[in-house]
């Protein structure tokens, strides 16, 4: 039986690094997606995700309700993204390399043309709809978890999710007609 995020977060707080690794396995993809919404670049999104988890680890003691780990982590991700935007604006630079100790290991994502098209379509969705889709599809299709991450009521979340799917299909059809 799978342990809950709360149990893992508590274990991590007691020093169980494998529990934190498990949390990373579960939530890193969603955090990458959230960062990707800001950076529009997978490399930077992956780097920011590392920062998000490092920051989360050092702040585990301030997590009041371990069961809300995902939502709390998403909050940190948003903060890190805001800092990233501020840094980018200040430096007038689109992307900055990370220091040597966190050298990225990511290879360029090799997606099929079909998937690339879908990615482009996803980018055209309003942020809220995209976030709902990301939360749902990257949280093991667990609607309750996803809902708590985006902070919507159950009915609103379902409505936004259905709307997002519909809009995505429309965008896809329009693009097909164009091409």
């Amino acid at each position: 039986m799978k342990e809950t995020d709360g149990a893992l977060a508590k274990a991590a707080r007691r020093g169980d690094r494998s529990a934190f690794a498990e949390l990373y396995d579960r939530r890193a993809r969603l955090i990458r997606a959230i960062c990707f919404n800001t950076t529009d670049d997978l490399h930077s999104a992956a780097d920011l995700t590392q920062e998000v988890f490092l920051r989360a680890y050092s702040k585990l003691d301030s997590l009041r309700d371990p069961e809300r780990f995902s939502a709390w982590l998403t909050g940190i991700a948003r903060q890190v993204c805001r800092e990233w935007i501020r840094g980018r604006l200040r430096d007038r630079q689109l992307a900055r390399p990370l220091p040597k100790e966190v050298e990225p290991v990511t290879r360029q994502h090799e997606a099929s043309p079909h998937l690339e098209t879908l990615q482009k379509d996803l980018a055209k969705l309003p942020e809220r709809e995209r976030l709902c889709l990301q939360a749902f599809y990257l949280q093991d299709l667990d609607a309750e978890q996803a809902r708590s991450v985006v902070g919507l009521s159950k009915s609103t979340f379902y409505r936004v999710l259905a709307k997002a799917r519909e809009r995505l299909a429309t965008i896809h059809r329009r693009e097909e007609v164009k091409s």
Binding site: K2, A12, R29, R32, F36, L54, A111, Y137, A162, A169
Partner: protein, 543 residues
């Protein structure tokens, strides 16, 4: 059925609809070609999205996880209540990374050098701490004898019963002989009652799995059934020796009884004999424990142990704090073996031996059955009282409501397996269940009595009923306590034997033949599982 819109098919493909609605939609799709195509399209799109998301954001996930784990600070993140006292003052890697990213490369390089030095220094210090503590444990293992003074204070912080003593220290001496396999422990205590010490009144001798208690110089109780549960004193040393990993905190150095000592602190599950918390058993063995060990820097052996244990009864109805301090600990001093002799047969006389059930799988299952049975009976009684209160238009008296809370009625298995919690809940449930037999039918009061006589009759009947209920309640609670102990002790035994026990407690529905309630590893690498229907089997894997 009218044809549903695209949103509905999208929700169906994402499995977000009620099963009844989903079934009717699927049925409709089989009959309507257009809807079938819409459903197929939605399902295809769902699969594509799933694939896209997982592939897009995988980003060499495993490598990145390994990289992250290597970057995590070596120290354990501190728990909230301790964070103020010793907050980490150095920045973590994430903060450093963020700072460096905001500045020019030169700054980054310049900042990196001291950071790397700090990290190396910390690594070095932490490694040293682990070695020192491991050395202490090894020296304890090699010790042949130990003596110390002890003071134990039990304070009832919440839920104090009328006339119950609280905050009164018990003090005395502990002596231990170790033959390489087991301890023989002698505790000679004196209890200070409201400042008046009554010396030498209590003597407790544990010889392996046999226990003897002398009160006023006479053997009053023989306990020959503690094979699964070491006595508290020995337990603490055993628990300490089980801490294979480094202590949670280094407390620094201080002067104790004229000697220089270094302190280590261990908290939580590590003291539960290595049983990690699991989903259904968040506090497997009194996780709210803190042990501080002060080690003589010359001998590398403990000279003081401070144990603080908080026991929170169900729903916070009762909170008890136990403070123990072992002071002036001396190791390898000569002890008179005659003091560790068991009482003679004449001295023992005809005193009864209290028998606990065996600490095994059958006892665990039996205990769980009784848990469920008692819950049903207790719930009936609780509902009766609630109904009575409601009929009278009032609420349950506060004390009564607290007792009912303590019965932890949850419609399932125990949420935790620590002995004190379980014993308490079992006792409350048993006492409530016993009301079924003891509460007498209300007889009508004769009408020819005067008002005073009627009141007197009602009062005496009430007193009689209360006495009978209390007596039966105590009897029932005493009878079921061993069942609770057996459940906790079995889990403890598995943990002690390093069988990786996992208990899923309140998350399992009683009767569920699929869900695992308790699992543990067998010698041949397979697993033994007890399922929600309390049937046990051996399986190859539990994934």
């Amino acid at each position: 059925m009218t044809c549903p819109d695209a949103k509905t098919w999208n929700l169906l493909s994402m499995n977000l609809l009620d099963e009844a609605l989903a079934r009717s939609l699927r049925q409709h799709a089989l009959e309507c070609q257009r809807c079938h195509a819409a459903w197929q399209e939605a399902s295809r799109r769902h699969t594509e999205l799933l694939e896209t998301f997982s592939k897009t954001f995988d980003c060499d996930h495993d490598q990145r996880r390994d990289q992250l784990m290597a970057l995590l600070p070596v120290s354990v993140p501190l728990c909230k209540e301790e964070s103020d006292a010793s907050r980490r003052w150095w920045p973590n890697k994430g903060e450093i990374a963020m700072t460096l990213r905001r500045h020019k490369t030169g700054w980054a390089a310049a900042a990196l050098v001291p950071v790397v030095c700090c990290v190396l220094l910390l690594l070095l210090l932490t490694t040293g701490e682990k070695l020192a503590f491991a050395d202490v444990l090894e020296k304890i293992r090699q010790a042949k004898t130990m003596t110390c003074d002890f003071v134990t204070t039990v304070t009832v912080e919440k839920g104090l019963l009328p006339g119950e003593p609280t905050g009164e220290p018990m003090q005395g001496t502990i002596s231990m002989l170790f033959d390489g396999e087991k301890y023989s422990t002698l505790i000679e205590g004196e209890k200070s009652v409201k400042g008046k010490a009554t010396k030498g009144k209590i003597r407790f001798l544990m010889l392996g799995d046999r226990g003897y208690v002398w009160v006023d110089g006479k053997v009053r109780f023989i306990d020959a059934s503690l094979s699964g549960i070491p006595p508290a004193t020995e337990n603490w040393l055993n628990r300490l020796l089980e801490v294979r990993e480094s202590p949670d905190r280094n407390l620094g150095e201080k002067e104790i009884n004229g000697r220089r000592a270094a302190g280590f602190e261990i908290v939580g599950w590590k003291l539960g004999l290595g049983a990690r918390p699991t989903e259904g058993n968040p506090t497997p063995n009194d996780s709210d424990i803190r042990l501080r060990v002060w080690v003589d820097l010359e001998q590398n052996l403990p000279i003081r142990l401070e144990i603080k244990q908080k026991q929170v009864m169900p729903r916070q109805s009762r909170v008890v704090t136990i403070d123990q301090q072992w002071d002036n600990i001396k190791w390898n001093v000569p002890l008179d073996p005659a003091r560790f002799q068991p009482p003679s047969q004449e001295e023992l006389g005809e005193e009864p031996t209290m028998k606990l059930p065996a600490i095994d799988e059958a006892a665990f299952v039996d205990g769980m059955r009784i848990w469920l049975k008692l819950e049903k009976k207790a719930k009936v009684q609780i509902d009766k009282f609630k109904k009575k209160a409601k009929d009278r238009g009032g609420e349950l008296p506060r004390g009564m409501a607290q007792v009912f809370e303590g019965a932890a009625i949850n419609g399932g298995y125990p949420e935790r397996l620590d002995a004190s919690w379980l014993t308490n809940v079992f006792s409350i449930r048993a006492a409530l269940a016993s009301l079924e037999k003891t509460v007498p039918e209300q007889k009508p009061v004769p009408e020819n009595l005067s008002k005073e006589e009627r009141q007197e009759l009602i009062r005496s009947r009430g007193e009689e009923a209360a006495k009978a209920s209390a007596k039966a309640g105590v009897k029932a609670a005493t009878e079921v306590s061993p069942k609770a102990t057996a459940i906790a002790a079995f889990y403890q035994k598995l943990a002690n034997e390093k069988r990786e026990p996992r208990y899923f407690g309140a998350t399992v529905t009683p009767g569920d033949a699929e869900a695992i309630l308790l699992q543990w590893k067998l010698d041949d690498g397979r697993y033994r599982v007890i399922r929600g229907d309390l049937k046990a089997e051996t399986v190859d894997s539990v994934d």
